[in-house]
């Protein structure tokens, strides 16, 4: 109401204010009177908040029209008939009984307490209640004056806040759950990756174990003979089709072989295994190299070719034994379809040890093998190799191959060379082929140490 007075135009007050003061005051009073037509009674009844006065026992003595209107009650039904607590919801009554009334008695006043009232229509009216106890001249409590503010909007706003907060909580929980699920999925993927790695490692171990069945892990020490080997598989996860071995026959003699099985992969490896152990057994029974190849030919042909699935190999089998000349070793070998051995002599001369006409092993029911013999003197080295070396591509065409002539020239530059020196040089040569080396390759070198050179220690001290 007071704010309306501020809207009175100040221009009505001028420099004649003093002279016309009384007249103007009268005009103002008239304006206020018009505006303040509300009597105190009118103000009480129509105020924008609820008013009620109650006896100390809670009986309602007076209530304004605003509150009656909010609650949908008639004055006659309320005054002297109802108590303040009767206007409240069940929960409101409880709160009033246990908190509101005792606190009010204790403090004499309470402000802004949130309660819920029931309307005649059965609805709920959230309100903020303030009460003051009016005391008499002797300080004795007389009655309770109470104002009631409609808190519906405020309650709705609070509930909206609560709802939003709940939604935010829910969204956070969902995000947390999604994060947990992603974490689980990541852990699952990690487990799968570890499993795959373990499987791969296991497979690699199995392949390595099988590979060791095809070639010896290390070469035995042979008295009076130096040996060296190089084994290259075209793929680390593919079993090689090349094979070699070196083993003792008796006190004087040692057997060795090197070869190449047709085809690739596990089937070829199976043939390789059969081949290796057949040759070992055959060499032990009969030390004539050609006989070992004949036995192998019969075994492979019976096992594969008879079934219409011809599988064969090329191989050189040899026997080494001390020669009549002290310090020399006699080599007697037989070839079945295998490239000839290469001799690097101590005097630098380099020659193939021809074994022409020896036939593929296992391809035909009967096969002819070619035998050759040589003596290794001190400083001489014999090299056996598979065609991975001579068939390595050196040009863009598939038939631009390294070849035996180039190998011989390479060896001629090398000679004289001990077995390890020769193998080292050839390993470097293989590396230089790069992608041209697309097949397995086995190299085996045997040599008599040159006079005056450091010989390898041997078990019997020779």
């Amino acid at each position: 109401m007071m704010c309306l007075t501020g809207e009175e135009p100040e221009s009505t007050l001028g420099e004649n204010e003093a002279r016309h003061g009384t007249e103007q005051d009268a005009e103002l009073d008239a304006a206020f009177t018009v505006l303040l037509e509300d009597s105190a009674e009118e103000l009480y009844e129509s105020a924008p908040c609820g008013y009620l006065s109650t006896m100390l026992d809670g009986t309602i003595a007076k209530i304004n029209a605003t509150l009656l209107d909010w609650l949908g009650l008639r004055r006659e039904a309320v005054v002297a008939r109802m108590r303040f607590a009767d206007l409240l919801t069940v929960g409101g009554k409880l709160y009033h009984e246990t908190h509101f009334a005792p606190l009010l008695r204790m403090r004499g006043e309470l402000h802004g307490i949130a309660l819920e009232m029931t309307t005649a229509g059965g609805g709920r009216l959230p309100v903020l209640v303030s009460s003051v106890i009016k005391h008499g001249s002797e300080g004795e409590p007389l009655l309770v004056r109470t104002t009631v503010f409609d808190a519906s909007d405020r309650r709705a706003y609070e509930q909206e806040l609560l709802r939003r907060r709940h939604e935010a909580e829910q969204a956070r929980a969902e995000a947390e759950q999604a994060r947990a699920e992603a974490e689980r999925a990541r852990a699952e993927a990690e487990r799968a990756r570890r499993q795959a790695e373990a499987d791969r490692a296991e497979l690699a171990d199995a392949l390595a174990a099988l590979q060791q069945a095809l070639v010896p892990t290390s070469l035995p020490v042979v008295p009076g003979l130096e040996t060296a080997v190089h084994y290259h598989t075209a793929s680390p996860v593919r079993l090689g089709g090349d094979f070699y071995d070196l083993f003792r026959l008796d006190e004087r003699r040692w057997a060795f072989f090197l070869g190449d099985v047709s085809g690739k992969g596990p089937q070829a490896a199976a043939v390789t295994s059969l081949t290796r152990y057949t040759l070992r057994a055959a060499a032990l029974l009969d030390p004539e190299p050609a006989t070992a190849l004949t036995t192998l030919n019969a075994v492979l042909h019976e096992r594969y070719a008879a079934d219409g699935d011809p599988r064969y190999c090329t191989a050189i089998v040899g026997i080494a034994e001390p020669a009549a000349d002290p310090g020399c070793i006699t080599i007697r070998l037989a070839s079945g379809g295998h490239p000839p051995a290469l001799l690097l002599r101590a005097d630098g001369q380099t020659d193939f040890l021809p074994t022409p006409g020896g036939m593929l092993v296992g391809a035909l029911p009967t096969a002819v093998f070619t035998t050759a013999e040589t003596t290794l003197a001190p400083g001489d080295t014999m090299l056996l190799y598979t065609d991975g070396l001579t068939e390595a591509r050196t040009g863009p065409r598939r038939d631009s191959l390294y070849g035996e002539a180039a190998l011989r020239a390479f060896a001629a530059d090398l000679a004289p060379a001990g077995p390890q020196q020769a193998i080292n040089a050839l390993t470097g040569l293989l590396t230089s082929f790069g992608d041209g080396l697309d097949d397995d390759t086995a190299l085996l070198a045997l040599g008599v140490p040159a006079l005056g050179s450091q010989t390898r220690p041997t078990p019997d001290g020779t």
């Binding site: 047709s262 085809g263 690739k264 070719a305 219409g308 011809p310 599988r311 064969y312 090329t314 079945g336 379809g337 295998h338 490239p339 022409p356 006409g357 020896g358 036939m359 593929l360 391809a363 035909l364 096969a367 002819v368 070619t370 598939r398 038939d399 191959l401």
Partner: protein, 109 residues
């Protein structure tokens, strides 16, 4: 890479297969398959003409051996014609030049 091509001609003495391209791990089974479909009669001679052969590896050698075995099982002879030098070199290394009947010239005229 030269895809394998096989053409067949029936001569008075028996079927002739003209092989061109690569006889390798990939294509050798094609030759084996073609050979097994042939109707070779006893007393005839199955000839494989290699004048157009670009490349031959151990799988190719196996296919030629299988063809020879197939002809012999039918009571027929088997011969290779116009074997390229590099293939002849391999056949010589593995001793098969003594097993295969090899005609120097090509019949593909």
């Amino acid at each position: 890479m030269f895809p394998l091509q096989i053409t067949r001609r029936d001569s008075a003495t028996g079927p002739v297969l003209y092989v061109t391209g690569d006889l390798d791990h990939h294509y050798a089974p094609v030759l084996r398959d073609q050979v097994e479909r042939l109707d070779v009669k006893a007393g005839q001679c199955l000839v494989i003409d290699l004048a157009g052969l670009e490349f031959c590896d151990s799988s190719g050698i196996t296919a030629l051996l299988a063809a020879r075995q197939f002809a012999q099982a039918a009571g027929a002879d088997f011969a290779l014609a116009a074997v390229p030098d590099n293939t002849l070199r391999i056949l010589t290394i593995v001793g098969l030049h003594r097993i295969f009947t090899i005609h120097p010239g090509s019949n593909a005229v």
